[in-house]
Symmetry: C2
Subunit: 765 residues, 2 copies
């Protein structure tokens, strides 16, 4: 009596069984914190698809089923786009409201944010939208006046109070309901997309709690952004929506295709950059990215962007707070400061990664990690205390970036545009009032404040990223870069103003000409710093390109991000996300880096020379009891099946989990299966003595096409095979005889050893 | 005495030899019309890189060498971008000039084109730039007048004369100097990128002749474009420049990375769309596209775009002739006509592919193919004869598209903007003069001419593409779609004008409102038709997005291209390039399509059940004479090496070419190697009798890590392995014993058989 075939790999026996129904519950599934087998999953999906196509020729209902199956991917993408766009809009609106609440409250309805409140008010004039009687600061509300030191202190204290309240709520909600909701989520999503399983990481509780706590964390004024976590939110949406479609619910590989697209959606709504989002998913997070996924990601990213735009969270029919338009072109000479910004970005990126990882390791290993709530409260209090006095740190990160990117127009009242008005135009004869002007007192004050803000942001971000609240890195990194860029930009501008005639500026920067745009420097700096931290290049440039909408500025951005990447790579090739993956010990085989060492597979495989021989099953001759004893005595996830112990010729591979489930099931349900029953993996049952118990046939759960490499295969090829095919393990042969086994974990341990790191830091299989 | 190791795969013996120098000339290279082994090439490059890195620790010179090696890729990209951009600019200028020469000549210098001539002239006013006395039509020059029927006939005849002259020159140059210069080149480049070798296809003669004949072919007025051939030109540049760098000259895999980037460069200069170009390379032509290539492609595409812009071939500081800006947004209801255009594009695409392939097959099989010059002349004469009377076919394809994309402004004198001026604005009270207006007589004439042009273009393109001149498909396909789109757009506009109050238009298309943009319809139509023919989606949308520079119109474009792809796919899943690849019998394993059939590897491998056993070498015991006899008696490109004929346990794989070269070399140079010498593949030489000739040791040329799959592996997995790893062949085992071999050609033949096509249409290995 043969077991119902497991439908794996479309092999012999499984052909007889409908691959659409699970033969035995559990066979073919994975345990938590394990790596999936991409080949098996994709093969399962192809079997499923073949089945549906074959059936579709038989009846109209089956044909409709086949058509709906083909379009279910697109429908799912539509839903993911709509849901993520809507959530992102909600998060934007709520965060805006709560951020303003730290400063005051709207009298005509506490649910209005500052801007909205003053729109509603009829008394505000167009210029004075910021100040209207309906919006009252806490000092006004409590003490009745907004002037004087006392009012300032009241506002200060209220600011700190709200910051503490929001951050306390955020961290307790995360701890109580969804521990996976903390952090940016991108390292874990990268690992999941590479084939790892972390149950609940993309579940509904994580979604709900992450959405709420993200708003709270952003509003609390901590130095963090919502862009990274939006990727996590979009992936949660996608994972939950996958449950609506059998095709995606039951197949880990297909689900990962959807998650790749969801990562694109997340960036699309975070920056209003659908193309940039798709490239981000391709460059940064995805592992397996077939062309079909490219099309679908693009579709989903567009849907999400348009959903967000119809929600219009910023009230300006733009997708982002920091949309920019520049007017002056850049000059070739300016490449020098842009490259300087690139170097700064690279240095900051490398430094940040080292410092942040060192801090996070300290959190893991010392008692600091035992008090996450207190840690968050202390950091929030410190942030609020130091941030409030400086207007550039008091405003939210996104607002700060928007302000720094801004090109000064004539009427601009911002402090950053505090130039002296040059009324005497007779000298130049041009009178272009947007031309370079000498800095005034306002601008000098702003520069000092910005310099302080830079130091503050650099410090505080290091200890903020990695706390137990949702926290993204994009905005803080960009803010650091934007501040540095703006400082350099204003410096260049003043240099040009006072040295019109020097050989550098002569020709392109004549008096009265509009030659240097400090906002562009801020933008280039932001790209450089973000590039240094994450090591993105193309996707970053495209995101920035979508913000400005002009090919004009691609070259400065490209120069800065490339320099930044090269400089940062010189200090260590890992981006912040890879560093966090390694810190957490996830089994992630970096697809970007080449395996440089010259080892052979025989050096990496197990058993090592001194170890006992490999635990194998023989295709016949072993009893159920022997098999169970072998499985019990080892902890391996799978066992090769060989013809006989003497020949060691490989027949197939069977997974521990499938083996245990099948034997367990057979003992319960199948007549006469006892410990003395023979376990048979051959196609035809051997003849047994009449009085012997019936054999247990397990060919159905055996993988008849295990991957093999020879012992002489250089490790770079083996690593390539693992990466490209998404393998979990591979058998090693020598002259046709089974010699050993090599798993993803073995490879990662070997790589850690080469890099002089602790091989035991790889925790999972 | 062991042969100098072949440096392949970094195996045992080759470790002793410097992998930077070729051990034996010829070993490790490929023959023409053969497929490369990606794994071996990449492994070779990694060995090379490892060697340089190791050396760099020893001396400063070596360190500098290592740094220059690392940056040589970027330098190469810079050169490719500069050269391709410059060539594209030259082609643009020359084609513009020659096209104008068909109509007349400039008196102040025959080397000026029409526009340039009238710029130089001081007598022309700004509005009247088209007409200046310095530019004389041929009739004016010959007969002295440009009026009357006689002058028309003179111009007509001169037009035909030039068309015939240009096309004759083009086809004879191609035939005489570079037969590979004909066609668009994209099918061949796709095949080359997938690992095929066609020597001379990307050589300097092809480059020179293709550049010249492309100009001639475009100027001759044939229904073809220069965009596709520009990809070929860019790839030629890249291939030639590769010879400057050892790293790329000697490694077929590395060179293909550069070629992938060059394809992006080609599209970047053709459409002024660097991001679109990169995505085109990724989506349409590339096979192996690692992230490093993504960054480099992007860089090269940018450099090329900026080089082209600094050449400024169109005199408008734009990269393309058909840059567009629209003013009115689109409305949701308009999605219906956009989808209609998508359906039209899909149908046209499917029809075009069928008709064109049928015609090309006829050319291959009948006597038509023996007279390529006459064919070109006849088609050129026919095109000129029919095209001249209709102003929309007389102008070049790019100009036509530019005209059709154009949004009518008030002062536009084009016939397409021949609306009646509604002077009575009192009725509407708005008086927006750009609002929808009733069509006038001029527009009706234009519509008739456009309808005729549509039919003409559809017919003539089918027989033009595939002739022995350089010919691209992008422009003719886009022209067909743009005409159809403009017709539909004007139709919609008039419908809206006369039915303001119907429920469809009510609300968004009130009288006096600017609601329908026929130019946008033309653009959507162009995208749909191009999508139907090539099956591009994302890259097409991004190219179009870069033309308009606004996210606004992505949704219509997306809707149309997706519909077009689905409709066209319903008639056949191949795009025009894949269809031409198949027509030519190239061994191309489509990376996009899934292998759907449920066959097992054992069904596809050779030897088939009835065939004689597989030709194998044994690792010892065979003599040189026996090996030579075995090689002579077969035509296989490689032979597995087994432990012994009885055990059939696999040791390695050796290539025919390497085997022959090595034996030949040994016979010439090595003492005592005769036919009776033993050939030994083992690590340690066996002891031979004292009087026996010394053995020939060939372990160095043996691949010790051949890929194997089991006979039970489903073909979908095997095909996946071939695609992802870029294999040329794979050995098949059963229970550890060698059973057979499966090559790329076997797979393609099997696929052809499944699809009911002739398996012998696959010509190459």
């Amino acid at each position: 009596p043969s077991l119902p075939g497991a439908g794996m790999n479309g092999n012999g026996p499984s052909k007889l069984v409908d691959p659409l129904e699970d033969p035995l519950p559990g066979v073919g599934t994975y345990e938590d914190f394990n790596t999936i087998d991409w080949v098996r999953e994709k093969s399962k999906d192809r079997d499923r698809h073949r089945e549906i196509t074959n059936k579709s020729r038989q009846s109209t209902v089956a044909l409709l089923h086949s058509v709906s199956d083909a379009f279910s991917g697109w429908l799912l993408m539509l839903l993911v786009g709509l849901m993520s766009g809507a959530l992102a809009g909600g998060i934007d609106i709520a965060a805006h409201w709560l951020t303003d609440m730290k400063g005051g409250v709207c009298l005509i309805g506490f649910w209005f944010n500052h801007e909205h409140c003053c729109w509603k008010s009829n008394e505000a004039t167009f210029q004075d939208r910021d100040r209207c009687p309906q919006w009252q600061s806490w000092a006004e509300l409590i003490t009745g006046t907004s002037e004087g030191a006392f009012a300032y202190i009241v506002n200060y204290l209220m600011y700190i109070f709200w910051a503490l309240l929001f951050s306390f709520l955020a961290v307790t909600l995360v701890r109580a309901f969804a521990p996976y909701a903390c952090g940016s989520g991108i390292p874990e999503i990268k690992t999941i997309l590479s084939g790892f399983i972390i149950r609940g990481y993309l579940g509904k509780w994580t979604l709900i709690i992450k959405t709420i706590t993200l708003v709270l964390a952003v509003s609390s004024g901590l130095s963090l952004g919502k862009e990274g976590p939006l990727v996590h939110v979009a992936c949660c949406c996608a994972n939950i929506l996958c449950h609506l479609f059998t095709k995606y619910r039951k197949n880990e590989a297909k689900r990962r295709e959807v998650l790749s697209a969801a990562a694109a959606v997340g960036v699309s709504v975070a920056f209003g950059a659908p193309i940039g989002g798709v490239l981000f998913s391709l460059e940064e997070v995805s592992y397996y990215f077939p062309l079909k996924t490219l099309w679908r990601s693009f579709f989903a990213a567009l849907v999400a962007a348009f959903t967000l735009r119809s929600i219009n969270p910023f009230g300006n029919s733009r997708l982002v707070l920091f949309y920019v338009e520049f007017h002056a072109p850049w000059h070739l000479v300016e490449l020098a400061p842009f490259v300087l910004l690139g170097i700064f970005g690279g240095l900051w990126g490398a430094l940040f990664i080292r410092a942040n990882i060192a801090w996070c390791r300290r959190r893991k290993t010392t008692r600091l990690g035992h008090y996450p709530v207190i840690e968050v409260l202390v950091v929030a209090a410190l942030t609020a205390l130091l941030a409030y006095p400086n207007s550039y740190t008091r405003m939210s990160g996104a607002e700060l970036i928007s302000e720094l990117f801004n090109d000064c127009s004539l009427l601009d009242s911002s402090q950053l545009c505090g130039y002296k008005q040059v009324t005497n135009t007779s000298e130049t004869g041009v009178g272009n009032s947007l031309a370079d002007r000498p800095a005034g007192a306002g601008l000098y004050t702003a520069l000092w404040q910005l310099a302080l803000a830079l130091v503050f942001k650099m410090m505080i971000t290091v200890i903020t990223f990695g706390m137990k609240v949702p926290s993204g890195l994009f905005i803080p990194s960009m803010a650091v870069g934007a501040i540095a860029g703006r400082l350099l930009g204003v410096g260049m501008e003043q240099l040009a103003y006072y040295n019109h005639d020097s050989f550098i500026f002569k020709g392109w920067c004549s008096p009265g000409a509009d030659c240097i745009t400090p906002g562009l420097y801020a933008m280039v700096g932001a790209a450089a710093c973000l590039g240094g931290v994450t090591r993105m290049t193309v996707s970053l440039v495209v995101i920035m390109f979508e913000l400005t909408g002009g090919l004009e500025y691609i070259v400065p951005l490209m120069a800065a991000t490339m320099t930044s990447k090269w400089v940062a790579d010189a200090f260590g090739r890992e981006g912040i996300y890879e560093a966090h993956i390694r810190l957490n010990g996830y089994p992630f085989l970096e697809p970007k880096e080449e395996f440089e060492h010259s080892s052979l597979t025989v050096d990496v495989m197990r058993p090592k020379r001194s170890d006992p021989a490999l635990a194998v099953l023989t295709q016949e001759g072993m009893t159920v009891g022997q098999v169970e004893a072998l499985v019990e005595s080892t902890h391996y996830s799978g066992f090769p099946v060989v013809v006989s112990q003497e020949s060691q010729r490989l027949v197939g591979f069977v997974l521990r989990r499938d083996l245990l489930i099948s034997i367990d099931n057979a003992r319960k349900r199948q007549e006469g299966v006892v410990s003395a029953s023979q376990v048979v993996f051959t196609e035809h049952a051997p003849s047994v003595a009449a009085d012997a118990p019936p054999p247990l046939r397990l060919r159905g759960i055996m993988d008849l096409s295990p991957f093999t490499v020879t012992d002489h295969t250089p490790m770079d090829i083996t690593v390539d095979i693992f990466r490209k095919l998404g393998l979990r393990q591979c058998l090693v042969t020598h002259n046709g005889r089974l010699l050993g086994i090599i798993t993803k974990k073995d490879i990662l341990k070997h790589m850690a050893q080469i890099a002089n790191r602790d091989p035991d830091s790889i925790l999972f299989n």
